[in-house]
């Protein structure tokens, strides 16, 4: 008879091991999935996890892509993890990401065709503010009226997607684009281009911002009183209240920070890899970042690694599409599976598994 016994404190060993186990379990389950789809499972797994980094032909292209994809994921996930730790569930990062891109691009395009070096910093500021403002809606509704932030932030994703569709064929449409929807290409305009800091590595300003966010979050959580309050609130809201933590302030800060970071990610994406505001700009980074945050155990360093791993599955998935004809949805399922296995394995870090008969207490 299997029996679970609650550990007094979560096991540190298992907390670090579960993501590794979850990845392994996902590889096995994914292999079975690929076999069902009629593909060679070993080849598929190799193409997804190995070839993007080490294949002599593709690696040159896909290695820089790793940072390009990991950048926004890490940036968004770091923001989300702060709230998740405190039990504040912002799951509308996709909407904040879109609004950040729209505001950032809008601020820049308003000044087109100026070549001032101030334009890019201004756009960064506008992008962060756009995401922040979008996240403030659920934050204020939560603190003022007690409205559930999960539902509001998610509803706002659909609203943001509609605004995106509206501006890309209206307000921000390229006046020289012969009536096609989509804004001017921001990457071809020197003042707004989010260029690679080190050529050929994929390391653009957004990736740098992601790394800075990791360091910032690490210091915040470990050395700053605010980080302590976040952790305390997550572990025991009641104790936090007694310790004088102001829940309203914490909600505003956590949602605001995660919104601003998601907005930044959107702004760096639109000025870099995406290049323009268009109807299909929203790419689901905001949702995948939720998986990244959990996979990284809500820990900044973990998120850094998880973001890189998730970026690898994106690139590997594209490669597998190309070489094996694996459907793109399969990789989405693969990522969902990863989150599931992780949550399932979490039981190991919070509980001890005992064999034998249940004792009568």
């Amino acid at each position: 008879m299997l029996r679970l016994e609650k550990r007094p404190t979560p096991s540190r060993f298992w907390a670090a091991m579960t993501p590794v186990l979850a990845v392994l379990a996902t590889m096995i389950a994914g292999g079975i999935l690929f076999a069902i789809l009629g593909k060679n499972p070993f080849e598929a797994i190799r193409i997804i996890f190995w070839d993007p980094l080490f294949h002599e032909q593709f690696a040159a292209y896909s290695r820089p892509q790793l940072l390009v994809k990991a950048g926004p994921l890490i940036l968004i996930a770091i923001g989300l993890s702060l709230g998740f730790r405190a039990g504040i569930w912002n799951i509308g990062a996709e909407g904040q990401y879109i609004m950040g891109a729209i505001c950032g691009a809008g601020a820049g395009l308003a000044l087109y065709p100026s070549e001032s070096f101030l334009i890019f910093p201004l756009m960064i500021l506008a992008g962060a503010l756009g995401g922040w403002a979008w996240a403030m809606i659920p934050a204020i509704l939560k603190t003022r009226f007690g409205t559930n932030e999960i539902l509001v932030s998610l509803m706002l994703v659909y609203v943001a997607e509609n605004i995106l569709a509206s501006v890309s064929s209206g307000l921000l449409r390229n006046p020289e684009g012969r009536g096609f929807p989509g804004s001017r290409n921001l990457q071809q305009w020197d003042a707004s281009a989010n260029t690679e800091i080190i050529a050929g590595t994929g390391m653009h300003w957004g990736v740098a911002a992601g790394f800075i966010a990791v360091i910032f979050a690490y210091v915040l959580l470990n050395k700053h009183i605010l980080g302590f309050q976040i952790r305390l609130t997550g572990e025991s809201p009641r104790a936090a209240r007694f310790a004088g933590v102001n829940p309203t302030r914490l909600i505003l800060i956590c949602l605001g920070l995660s919104g601003a970071l998601a907005g930044l990610a959107g702004m760096f994406e639109v000025t870099g890899p995406a290049g323009q505001i268009s109807i299909d700009f929203g790419s689901g980074y905001g949702f995948t970042a939720i998986i990244v945050a959990f996979l990284g155990r809500l820990h900044p360093v973990g998120i850094l690694l998880a973001g890189l791993l998730m970026a690898l599955t994106y690139i590997g998935g594209e490669l597998a599409q190309l070489m094996l004809g694996l459907p793109s949805a399969a990789i989405q399922l693969f990522q969902g599976m990863l989150l599931f296995f992780l949550l399932a394995m979490d039981v190991l870090s919070n509980f001890r598994i005992r064999f034998g008969k249940t004792e009568v207490a």
Binding site: K6, N162, F340, L343, F351
Partner: protein, 310 residues
């Protein structure tokens, strides 16, 4: 712009159709939440139900089988959530989110070779005599069977929760799982059953979208209906009767904005299509503003993990 082209009778009739998937998903989630479990995976279960129902209906040419398999698909997917949250004691919010992401991926994979096909038509009932009544006939009595089944399900859930012993036990588990456990009720088993019922209902709701409302399969076609169902449960303050009200309100706005789009109103299409989501937010705010009442009605153990160690 031609507002005269909007036929109020047809509007109300299509309102009932638009509200049906929401009613189905919301009543399922209401039962789940009454049992003290917060399953945020409604969207994932709906879309899985939509694709399962569509595939089976196309392959067998039978909408009935399609609906049955949709319910089955939703229930099986929800079982995954049940195993994780009830046996492996994972966080319900995170697991529910995971279920939605997983369901979206799974449905896209299953449905990829069915894009663009047409679902077999589901017959309308056109109840004799009753459907010939002017105004009331087309509004109330000439829909497909699922519309009435959804209403019957709603009434059934209401009656079971209010009057039956099973309903009382379910509510006891949701209000205080430790007390229910002490009384000898199998908390985990009851919750698992509730979760599967919720999954089956969400699956039916999804299939209603893919088999009757649209009737086609496209990726992500439920477009947030599952999340709106979740919002409606909160709006209804966990009362079945109010679920109906919320679903009709939402269905009405959806249908109205579609009609306004068709009539060529001077408001841009995008602003009309975002209106149902905005209204949902507004309604949520109004409901939650009255804190004392909102807190009173929520099942007390909602979202809390049950572990019988002591």
């Amino acid at each position: 712009m031609d507002l005269g082209s909007i036929n109020p009778i047809l509007l109300v009739a299509s309102l009932m159709v638009a509200a049906t998937p929401i009613i189905l998903a919301a009543i399922g989630e209401l039962v789940v939440e009454k049992a003290g479990v917060l399953n945020l995976g409604v969207e994932g279960m709906m879309i899985t139900g939509a694709v399962c129902g569509f595939i089976v209906a196309v392959e067998t040419d039978s909408p009935t089988l399609g609906f049955l398999c949709a319910a089955l698909g939703g229930a099986v997917l929800s079982l995954l959530f049940g195993l994780l949250t009830q046996y492996l004691l994972s966080n319900q919010v995170a697991t529910g989110l995971g279920l939605t992401l997983f369901g979206l991926g799974l449905s896209a994979l299953l449905g990829q070779s069915y894009v663009g096909l047409k679902a077999p038509a589901t017959p309308k009932l056109d109840i004799p005599v009753l459907s010939d009544i002017p105004v009331l006939g087309p509004v109330l009595f000439s829909h497909d069977l699922m519309v009435y089944l959804a209403l019957a399900l709603l009434a059934g859930v209401w009656a079971v929760l209010k009057y039956s012993r099973a309903g009382l036990i379910l509510r006891a588990v949701g209000e205080n799982h430790d007390a229910a456990h002490a009384l000898g009720y199998k908390v985990v088993r009851i919750r698992l059953l509730a979760i599967m019922f919720g999954g089956a209902c969400a699956g039916l709701g999804g299939a209603y979208v893919s088999l009757i409302r649209v009737p086609q399969w496209t990726e992500g076609m439920t477009a947030g209906a599952g999340w709106i169902a979740l919002a409606i449960v909160v709006f209804a303050s966990w009362k079945p009767g109010r679920v109906l009200l919320g679903a009709y309100l939402f269905g009405g706005i959806t249908v109205l904005q579609l009609n306004l789009q068709a009539a060529g109103v001077a408001i841009p299409v995008e602003y009309l299509s975002m209106s149902p989501y905005l209204i949902t937010i507004v309604v949520l705010v109004i409901m939650s503003a009255d804190r004392s009442r909102a807190a009173l009605n929520a099942p007390a153990s909602l979202g809390r993990t049950f572990h019988a160690s002591h």
